[in-house]
């Protein structure tokens, strides 16, 4: 028996290490593998306690594997979030089922047992139904817009109250039927919880549901008196909560808003841009993009000059080079507001002349550039000058940065440049916008790349 416990402890350790690994780019993959190894150890260990139904259990595991692996393998990269939601949901359901079953098996486990059971079933059901709804939303089987039921708040409050009452009733009566009812109420609660969440916030909701499932698992650990489940569930619950907060912060949505039913529709992050959506990234996103690139092209423009960001740009470039990344500067003939504006600034910052490339040096090989960092330039990378004969800047040669693998745009707003024309590139799915003063952004990027 004791070695079983030790094995569980080892598994718990693996999970801690897995989370630790997953928090740094360098060890993320290894972390995931360690987690999987811990899981294998735990499951194999569990089988030693199996006294009945071994074959059936193995069949169920096989069935789960046969369903899970291809689903995970074949899903498109863009559909991964909903797949994660689904996996999370089934985990929640499993936790609820486990608690329910144990409740059926055990005659009288005491108050704490009952409380833990009730929590597991309730949270597990919420997590399950909530996850299913998020899946439907992301898969666009249902609308991605927030669904605001008439009197939604009231219905939600009512269902929550009913759940609470049922939970109390189960603890006092020990009735399995009521427990099943509680599960149903939980399912309803989960649906109500996620329905009002709009497109961009769905990942936050998934993360929160993920933390919920963790808590359900931890509670089920109390039900079964199994420390591994407690530790692993708590780990996921705690880290999931922090993660949810971090995600909300990264998207500029205070978590409190979200937690207190304010899953209302919110406008997309950026300012103008009329109806069309742009992708605004965080400094960390861009830092990782840069840190794992092989070649980077910096295209400075008037904004670099306004921000007096030439020194910061050179520092970032040097840092990237010191990590073995090739960095060039694309100097457009009319970047800035006077001939040679960029030359003056970059010479001041001591950028070696050899790194300054012109249109013809760069455009032919643009396809193999991993990241183009557009620092306060706009017109000089506007594909309209190449593609739209009606554009007032049509005919001006540009850097074809839209042909690079990805583009990072640093500017303060969605305002256009000197020529006053909108830039299609801002809406390109390849483009990440980093809003803010260029010097500021570059300084932050520098710190972020260093800490990679």
């Amino acid at each position: 028996m004791n070695w079983v416990q030790l094995a569980y402890l080892a598994a718990a350790l693996c999970f801690i290490l897995a989370l630790k690994g997953l928090s740094t780019p360098r060890y993320a993959r290894a972390g995931n593998l360690v987690g999987a190894a811990g899981m294998a150890l735990a499951v194999v260990t569990a089988f030693f306690s199996v006294t009945h139904n071994l074959v059936l259990i193995l069949v169920a595991v096989a069935a789960g594997t046969v369903v899970g692996i291809p689903a995970a393998r074949q899903v498109k990269m863009t559909a991964i979030p909903q797949m994660v939601a689904l996996f999370n949901g089934v985990g929640g359901a499993a936790a609820a089922l486990v608690a329910l079953t144990e409740f059926l098996e055990v005659a009288d486990g005491g108050v704490l047992f009952d409380v833990a059971t009730v929590l597991t079933v309730l949270i597990g059901s919420v997590s399950f139904s909530g996850s299913v709804v998020t899946f439907l939303k992301l898969q666009e089987i249902m609308t991605t817009r927030p669904v605001l039921l008439p009197a939604g708040q009231i219905v939600g409050t009512a269902v929550a109250a009913v759940s609470a009452l049922l939970a109390l009733a189960v603890v006092f009566t020990g009735s399995s039927a009521l427990l099943v009812l509680l599960a149903v109420a939980g399912l309803a609660l989960g649906v109500l919880f996620v329905l009002p969440v709009g497109g961009a916030d769905v990942p936050i909701a998934i993360s929160l549901l993920n933390a919920f499932t963790g808590l359900a698992v931890a509670a089920s650990g109390y039900v079964l008196g199994n420390t591994l489940l407690i530790v692993a569930g708590t780990l996921v619950g705690a880290s999931g909560t922090i993660l949810t907060r971090l995600m909300a912060q990264a998207m500029g949505r205070p978590l409190t808003n979200i937690l207190f039913g304010a899953f209302k529709a919110a406008p997309p992050t950026a300012g103008g841009g009329e109806q069309r959506s742009v992708r605004a990234g965080t400094v960390e996103d861009v830092a990782i993009l840069l840190g794992y690139a092989h070649s980077v092209l910096v295209v400075p423009g008037y904004g670099l000059a306004v921000a007096q960001a030439q020194h910061a740009a050179r520092e970032l470039a040097q840092l990237l080079e010191s990590r073995g990344i090739s960095v060039d500067y694309g100097i457009h003939p009319v970047a800035g507001r006077m001939p040679g504006h960029m030359n003056v600034l970059l010479a001041e910052a001591d950028v070696p002349y050899e790194q300054l490339k012109e249109l013809d040096d760069v455009n032919p090989g643009m396809g193999s550039v991993d990241v183009v960092l557009v620092v306060g330039a706009n017109d000089v990378v506007n594909p309209g000058a190449r593609d739209e004969p009606s554009s007032p800047i049509y005919g001006m040669p540009i850097f074809d940065v839209d042909k690079a693998k990805s583009v990072v745009f640093m500017k303060r707003s969605m305002r256009p440049g000197f020529a006053g024309v909108d830039n299609e590139l801002l809406y390109n799915p390849k483009t990440t916008l980093l809003f803010g003063d260029a010097k500021d952004s570059l300084t932050k990027l520098l710190a972020a790349v260093k800490s990679l």
Binding site: G35, A46, A63, G68, M77, T101
Partner: protein
Amino acid sequence: MIDLLTIFVLAVFVGFEVVSKVSTILHTPLMSGANAIHGVILVGAVLITGQAEGGIELVLGLLAVFLATVNVVGGFVVTDRMLEMFKGHKR
């Protein structure tokens, strides 16, 4: 019971500390990895099913085993796929 509570509290701390400085780009993989880890409910499912005397418990237990397996297996695989971008690049 107090030991379990202590364990809980300590695990909360470990959970907080361990992910508190993760960068945005890892949010989704980390969530997915954590998601796979809570699939450890599979252990619970196996344990109860392994003791079930048949009937409704067995059915529910088997269903739980199936679902938990999907969670575990799918979770780890999908996380690994997400993390492919971090593969192979030497600093």
